[in-house]
């Protein structure tokens, strides 16, 4: 009888662990599961990294929490699924995760060919170069003949190849699986140059023993709009993720913070858009298929975009990024949310 055990255990396990979603929409699946399966980075300071209590923290993590708030009214109803650069799209396509918030660059082919749907941009980045100050290099055009550490499985290595070819320079790529390895190689001097998203470079530099000995070169060689993505073909779910992100941005624009949101929601404001955002006027929540106070819950538990930014990557964190292009459009940045109307 022992011989049948495996087959039977498999059958049992499949019944126990399988979630069938053949006919259901993503929103129904998420509701049925009671939590949002959110694909995040396996470890990138400021974007997604576990703290000492094993709680994931970061800019991307807060996007997951915002979406969970609008669906469940509870920002903790998230199952974080770390995915690698190489496996993220198939994890999304296969339904292993409901949404992807893993510093993923929005590109044409990813949007069309890989059957993912980008809902917006939560961080504007660009690829840059970091070098030790002792090399005496001040421009990326002086990098001919260098050894370059690069994370594999990203758009970074394609940009790198194109940039060096376009400028007629040669280089020696050192491809590495994780940012941590790449950083270790760079610090030990095994590469002259470390390339990656400029924010990531700054984040890494901040944690170096001697940050002043390294400089980030001024050239930004690519556009890297990083944004959350969902599966192609489920517009309802796409809307929820998109507007959860937009709610964060609009909240900052309207001056709604986690501190004053309660007060603003309890009274009728002169600015009607605040009322619509917080659900005290109109029925935007119903149009989206969630509770009326969805955006209020997001802001209460996560804060507005500015708060999220300052908490994880802002100047007061070890990463110490300026807002720069990630400021609101009203303040000279690129962040712009369509109106809540």
């Amino acid at each position: 009888m022992k011989i049948n055990t495996t087959r039977i255990l498999l059958a049992a396990a499949m019944t126990a662990f399988t979630t069938t979603m053949a006919s259901a929409t993503t929103l129904e699946d998420v509701r049925a599961a009671g939590q949002l399966k959110c694909g995040i980075h396996e470890g990138l300071a400021g974007f997604a990294a576990p703290d000492a209590n094993g709680k994931w923290q970061g800019l991307d993590v807060d996007i997951c929490r915002a979406v969970a708030s609008s669906v469940f009214g509870n920002s903790e109803a998230v199952e974080y699924i770390p995915v690698t650069g190489a496996t993220r799209f198939s994890a999304l396509a296969s339904g292993e995760i409901d949404m992807l918030a893993r510093t993923t660059t929005w590109t044409f082919s990813r949007d069309t060919d890989l059957k993912t749907e980008f809902v917006g941009v939560n961080f504007y980045d660009g690829q840059g170069f970091m070098v030790p100050a002792s090399l005496g290099i001040s421009s990326a055009l002086e990098l001919d003949g260098t050894t370059v550490c690069v994370n594999t499985g990203t758009t970074t290595e394609l940009n790198l190849a194109e940039y060096f070819r376009a400028n007629g320079m040669s280089y020696e790529p050192v491809p590495l699986e994780t940012g941590a390895e790449a950083q270790q190689q760079f610090l030990s001097g095994s590469c002259d140059v470390f390339t990656g998203d400029a924010s990531g470079l700054a984040a890494n530099r901040a944690t170096f023993p001697n940050p002043d000995e390294y400089v980030v070169l001024p050239e930004i060689i690519s556009k890297e709009p990083l944004g959350p993505a969902v599966r192609h073909g489920d517009s309802e779910w796409e809307d929820i993720v998109r507007w959860s992100l937009n709610a964060l941005i609009t909240a900052e624009e309207l001056g709604v913070t986690s501190e004053n949101v309660e007060e603003l929601a309890s009274s009728v404001n002169k600015n009607a858009e605040i009322n619509r955002l917080l659900g005290t006027e109109g029925d935007l929540g119903a149009m989206l298929g969630v509770e009326a106070d969805w955006a209020k819950t997001i802001i209460m538990s996560v804060g507005n975009y500015g708060e999220v930014f300052e908490r994880h990557v802002g100047v007061n964190t070890p990463i110490g990024l300026e807002r720069g292009v990630n400021a609101l459009w009203t303040q000279g940045g690129l962040l712009y949310s369509p109106p809540f109307r």
């Binding site: 198939s90 060919d113 059957k115 050894t147 699986e177 001097g189 095994s190």
Partner: protein, 436 residues
Amino acid sequence: MLAAQALKRVFMSTIEPSRKRGFRLGQLVYDTRYRSKSIQVIAAIVILVSFWWLGSNIVGNLAALGKDFNLAFLGAPAGYDINQTLIPYDNRMSHGRAAVVGILNTLLVSFLGCIAATVIGILVGVLRLSDNWVINRLAAVYVEAFRSIPLLLWIVSIFAILSEAMPQPRDFRGDDATASMQLFDSVAVTARGVYVPRVAFTNSLSGNEAVIPRENLAAVASGSADWAIIVATIAVGLVVSLGIKAFVDRKQIMTGQRPVTWYWLAAVLILPVLVALYVLGATVVQPYLKGFNFTDGIFIRKSLFALWLALSLYTGAFIAEIVRGGIQSVGKGQREAAAALGLQSNRIMQLVILPQALRVIIPPLISNYLSLAKNSSLALAVGYMDVRATLGGITINQTGRELEGMLLLGLFYLFLSLLISGIINLYNRSKQLKER
């Protein structure tokens, strides 16, 4: 009681059908003649149904994702660079070409790893049997440490040690250089890899590797045609030397005297090669520091070096145990009997011990080569661009063709391992003890 019932069943199935000619449905289950067929038919149906189920699922899933099964992506431009290329490659070339570059890199590290692992394994295996306590303990510690700690951890650690402990190219520069090149300024061991001299030809027939020269020197190149000539010369020398050996053997059988032939062999094997090298104008080109890095010479990248070292040390520990077991498996009596026949100790090793030990050693040795080749896929821990990293990594990631990519990758490894296990079987068959 069970046995009695079984006995009864056996009789029923073998005797009764011969009495009754008619076919009953029960015979499909009870009659050994039909039972094997009915079991196989059921199995065939189960297998076919599961394949059909898998196939229809794949088709359904591909349709749901809006994808198709298409190998055309192999022809599209790859767009990424590979640092170590054994054949010409640049980022405008196709994904297929990148896959071939990766395959060659896998084969290279596996080949180098097998050689080094064998050397380490034999050495440590013999040292494990040494009388010297310090040495056999140390060998034991090495074997246990490498067998008990995951290979991945070793690869990562060796990579980190090389990065931390070795000097950087810039440390070689200037008057206050903290590092210097070894072996008469010909080998540079850096944290980026090892630079060793290469042989180039001033009268090269197909100079395609000319590198910007050092000051006051002319550019020297080496090409495949030059190396082909050298290899051909050596091959001809080997053939001729085999002929000499056959001649000498015949002479020994006829006269009982074996002529001294070492100077013939030297003349046949070494002289022509030296002449060929001289005519082609062979020179040794040493690596030298230029710009950010060393240039010229042969560059053994750290990723290759670390992976090669880790794989050979790890597999070497397993081979050491096989070698030890093989030597110990030859009974003491064999050695004593051989000595009693008056054989010298090197002849005992050559004629008695080794042939018997090798029979035990070689099959598991080759299967260790196989696992080394498969373990080389851990290259991704150090960023070595093997076939998993090109075809199974970047290509899949950039094109989204995971089904096709993984299938090709699996087929490559399967082909490699079937080839190696084919060799084991061939060896086993040729060396099988003739038993009753």
